[in-house]
């Protein structure tokens, strides 16, 4: 299993959630966060906004669904045709085990140690830059 954390614009989060629902991935946890990216916040004339409000969507999916979910998030979270600064980031990390509390059901992911490393390298996929190649 893979945990996908997507940091998206607050105004886009509903669109992303809808896209995920339509794609058959209803399970999402959403939290409001503040942060800045490599553009060091936002400068509007004299005022610099250091911490911009974003929404963090957290979902855990099967290994084989990873690329599809990332693509759906990316397509729905991008603003305009080509995207813009501030559209967000997607981080991918491995999950060893997942438990459903109500049933006590346990899911274990079995993957070789190597793949864990590569999953981390792929981790930071820039929503803007990477999209043109993958879509």
């Amino acid at each position: 299993m893979i945990m996908i954390r997507a940091i998206v614009r607050p105004e886009k989060s509903n669109e992303v959630m809808k896209a995920l629902m339509d794609a058959g991935f209803p399970a999402v946890t959403k939290m409001e966060v503040f942060g800045r990216g490599k553009q060091r916040g936002l400068k509007c004339g004299e005022v610099t906004y250091d911490e911009l409000p974003k929404e963090l969507l957290l979902m855990v999916v099967k290994d084989e669904d990873k690329d599809f979910v990332i693509r759906s998030v990316m397509e729905s979270a991008r603003s305009g045709e080509r995207g813009a600064f501030g559209d967000g980031k997607i981080f991918v990390s491995p999950v060893d085990e997942a438990y459903t509390i109500s049933s006590g059901e346990r899911e274990i992911s079995i993957r070789p140690a190597k793949e864990t490393g590569s999953a981390k390298e792929e981790g930071a996929v820039a929503a803007g830059a990477e999209s043109r190649e993958t879509v």
């Binding site: 945990m3 399970a27 060893d96 459903t100 109500s102």
Partner: protein, 128 residues
């Protein structure tokens, strides 16, 4: 070293905290979050539809709304994972959809800022 992310019901927080301390896991980080699972249950809409509100019935198809939850994050040594997961499940299990989920993820390193200890020493909370 593993990071454990548990998503639980809002009203189970107190019981969970107590159980975690008794089991020897005093430290965690908590957050209020909104989420949805695979269950297609929206209590407001269902109630509305049951009362015969015209507006609620077409909305039923649009899937669940987000439900407030608490998220707990803990980092523990590998051999404690099982105990922690058992503790959280024992307290939170009501056998109904919406009890939450637990994820176990690998963590490469941990560092205690105060003493610069790293690795297992940094997450050892019982020998203070």
């Amino acid at each position: 070293m593993k990071e454990i992310i548990a998503i639980i019901r809002m009203n189970k927080m107190g019981q969970t905290k107590k159980a975690l301390i008794n089991a020897g896991f005093p430290s965690f980080t908590a957050h209020k979050v909104m989420g949805r699972g695979k269950g297609f249950v929206d209590l407001d809409l269902l109630r509305g539809a049951a009362e015969g509100l015209e507006d609620a019935i077409p909305q039923l198809a649009h899937g669940p709304r987000l439900i407030p939850k608490r998220i707990l994050k803990m980092v523990v040594p590998d051999d404690k994972v099982e105990l922690l997961v058992e503790t959280v499940i024992k307290v939170n299990q009501t056998h109904h959809a919406g009890d939450g989920r637990i994820f176990v993820m690998p963590i490469i390193d941990a560092i205690r800022i105060r003493t610069k200890e790293s690795g297992l020493e940094a997450i050892n909370e019982m020998n203070e």
